[in-house]
Every structure is written in C-alpha cells, then in structure tokens.
C-alpha cells in the first residue's frame, strides 16, 4: 500500500512492547536519530533491536538503551570507544546480545525482504558463531545455514523522498537502510527533504516506494 506522510510520533505508534525494531546506520552515519528520539519518548519496552552497532555516546540508539527499553540486541559490532551505555548493560547482564558476522546480518535482513527463508554462507564456519548451526558442504566448501530475520518495524535514515515514497540515500549513510526497509512489516524512512513525484531519476531510486510504509519529513529539524 502507498506510503503515508506522517509525524515521527505517529510512525512510532506502530512499535509496541516486545516489537523487533531494525535501526539503519553504521556508527552514527545513517542512524535515524529523529525516529529513535520518538521511540525513546514513546516508552515502548522489551524491544529487540537489530542494528550494526550498539550505540554511540548518549544519543540515538545509546539513549534508547540507557532508557532500559531494549531487552535484546542483534548486531555485529557492539564494542566501540563510545559504547559505554551498552557496555555497562552487557556486563551487568541487563541486555541480551546475539552476535552475527556483519555480512550474515546484512544477508539475513535482505533474505527476509526477498522472501528467502534461509541460505548457506561460508562465513563463520569453524568458529564460535557457527556453534549449533547446521553446516553443509556445497561444491566442496562448508557453509552454515542462516535464517531470515523477521522485523516488525524498520526505522531508516534516508536523504530525499518523493511524494510517492521513493527514497534516495547519501554516501555511506546508505548502509543498512535499503535492506531494512525491504524486510520489515512496517517501514519508516526519515528524510531531510520531500520533492514532488517525478523529480527523482527513475534510474537512480534506491528504495522504491513499494518498500516504504511511512515517510517522516525532517526538513524543519534538519534546517535548525
């Protein structure tokens, strides 16, 4: 169904206690800060978060963790110089961590969006992260079976949307946005600008509107 143009608060109303929420971003680049702020304000709790990292500093995902709204995080690289909020929760046993190789995380999300139930990857074979997983030799190469990751709501940081909900991104802030938008039951993209239909080049649209349920226009916020 076609995309709605709504406020961050309205978009976040699709997140409920216990939801699985995917957050785009690699470090702070591409992290949907405005949507995460609305998620913090909503008070939704017991969330499972899917993201590459586990928060930086005190804002965005780190703020959400600090609010004790997150029960579990599925990510590839939680440890960073400024991941102190996660570090403390993890060391005190207050958050569950599922660690996944970065490419496997990306492919599990992409598989969900593409209707692929599971896939075999050579990544991780013979390591701790493959313990308990099925392994199969394909053309002489051992591969691990990995399953698609179900996502209730994706919160994505885009660059520009048109009024139909097509989205383009900016530089390395693209990262997990397109695959998360494709994978979630309800996908929200915050953008810094909305342009009339027809202004984006059809050859250059990265996330077609079919993957987008809601656009949150942050132009005013970005202008400040």
């Amino acid at each position: 169904m076609s995309a709605s143009f709504i406020s961050a608060t309205e978009a976040i109303s699709h997140v409920t206690d216990g939801s699985t929420v995917a957050l785009s971003g690699f470090g702070l680049a591409g992290q949907p800060l405005h949507l995460i702020d609305a998620l913090c304000d909503s008070g939704a709790s017991s969330l499972t978060i899917i993201a590459n990292n586990a928060g930086n500093g005190e804002t965005g995902l780190a703020r959400l963790l600090g609010n004790k709204q997150v029960a579990k995080i599925l990510c590839s690289f939680p440890r960073q110089q400024d991941s102190q909020i996660f570090d403390e929760l993890y060391r005190s046993g207050k958050i569950e961590l599922e660690l996944v190789p970065q490419g496997t995380l990306a492919e599990r999300i992409r598989a969900q969006g593409a209707g692929i139930g599971a896939f075999y990857t050579p990544t991780g074979v013979g390591t701790q992260l493959a313990i308990g997983k099925e392994v199969r030799a394909i053309n002489g190469v051992d591969q691990v079976l990995e399953f698609a990751t179900q996502i209730d709501v994706a919160l994505v940081h885009g660059h520009i949307a048109d009024q139909q909900g097509n989205v383009i991104y900016r530089k390395t802030a693209r990262n997990f946005g397109p695959i998360m938008a494709s994978a979630a039951r309800y996908s929200v993209v915050e953008v810094s600008r909305v342009v009339p239909i027809g202004e984006l080049d059809p050859e250059s649209i990265v996330t077609p509107s079919i993957f987008v349920n809601a656009i949150v226009d942050c132009e005013v916020k970005y202008a400040n």
């Binding site: 169904m1 076609s2 992409r110 969900q112 969006g113 593409a114 209707g115 692929i116 048109d162 009024q163 139909q164 097509n166 494709s182 994978a183 239909i197 027809g198 059809p202 050859e203 649209i205 077609p208 509107s209 079919i210 993957f211």
Partner: protein, 209 residues
Amino acid sequence: MQTEPLTKSEIAKRIASDIPSGSYVNLGIGLPTLVSNFIEPDSDIILHTENGMLGMGPEAIGNDIDLELINAGKIPVTELPGASYFHHADSFAMIRGGHIDICVLGAFQVSFAGDLANWHAGDPNDIPSVGGAMDLASGATETFVMMTLFDKSGKSKLVKECTAPLTAVNCVNRIYSDMAIIDISAGKIEVREVFGISEGELLDRIGMN
C-alpha cells in the same frame, strides 16, 4: 441477476474497480493486461512489471515506443512519474517477499482448494515455459484469477483437482470470470456474484452440488 455473461472487458473493469487505491499490482501476461485499461489515473494504483519496473504506464504508441521499455509480455509501454527501475533479483525480491499486494493471472484450471494451473496445459508436445508465474502466484499477497469459467467444450475450469501441472498450491483468493465472481478462502468456495446463470446451475456445472 444479470442476464448476460460478462465480456472480457467487463471482467477487466470489475477487477480494476475492486483493486484498492494505493495497491501495488502485477498484471500477468495475456488476458490480465486488459485490466490496465480500466485503472483510473487518480487511483494511486502502481503497476509492477517483473522485468524490472514500478510505475508502468499504458502501452506505448508511435514515437513513444522504446524497445528498452517493455512489459512482461515484451510489449512497449510507458513510464509514469514516480517510476523506478531495478534488476531482476530485486524485482523478484518484491514478488517473493510479499510486497506485491495483488497479482492478476490467467488460468487453465483452478481447484476448489485454490491450487492454480496456468503455465503448462499438460500437452507433452508443448514447449514448457513458466516465466514468473510460480513466483507471482506464491509470492503476491493476493492472487486474482481472470478467466472464462468454462472451456470451449463447456467443461468447468474450476475443478475438484487440477489435472494440468500446478503453478502453485492454495494460492488463488478470487476468480473473476465471465459467469461468476468466486472467492476461495481456507479451501472453501463462495460464489459472490453470477452473470447469465443462476447460482444453482453454476454450482451444478462446476460439480459443487
């Protein structure tokens, strides 16, 4: 009761009017492409073609014909504002991933349980060709079938069990035909409307009574 069966155009018009505004729709090759003639420009319905495009417009004519802008039936089409292009893996991610709200497909046979047979009439001399039919039938959120209800010899195409090779199991949600509109849900048939035939006679002819 309408006293005449629907024409193909009338069937297409009914389908178009039943597609909710804002839907993403894939129209199969052949008969279903007629539906596009009846989609209102302001309906906000967006057409997907599996060869890599959303926002497909009407068939191209005259100078608008561009052999690199075609639909799944290889017919030159046009591009509407808001259109986007993508490669085949991304196109079928849309289909398989459940992002297409409705697909409209033709059929040789549909079973009472909603099984669809539409890719191979079963004649061993035919050249088998499946295209995107299996992906669409199993991947789209709703599958509508557009067909005549009876074949040229008068036999029902809605059958207890398909004899032609299957396209997908338990995938058809609704049949739009010349004689009736029929819902299939949880393996049960419900006749919604009949045209030029009474419901009793229809059920007799499809072997439901």
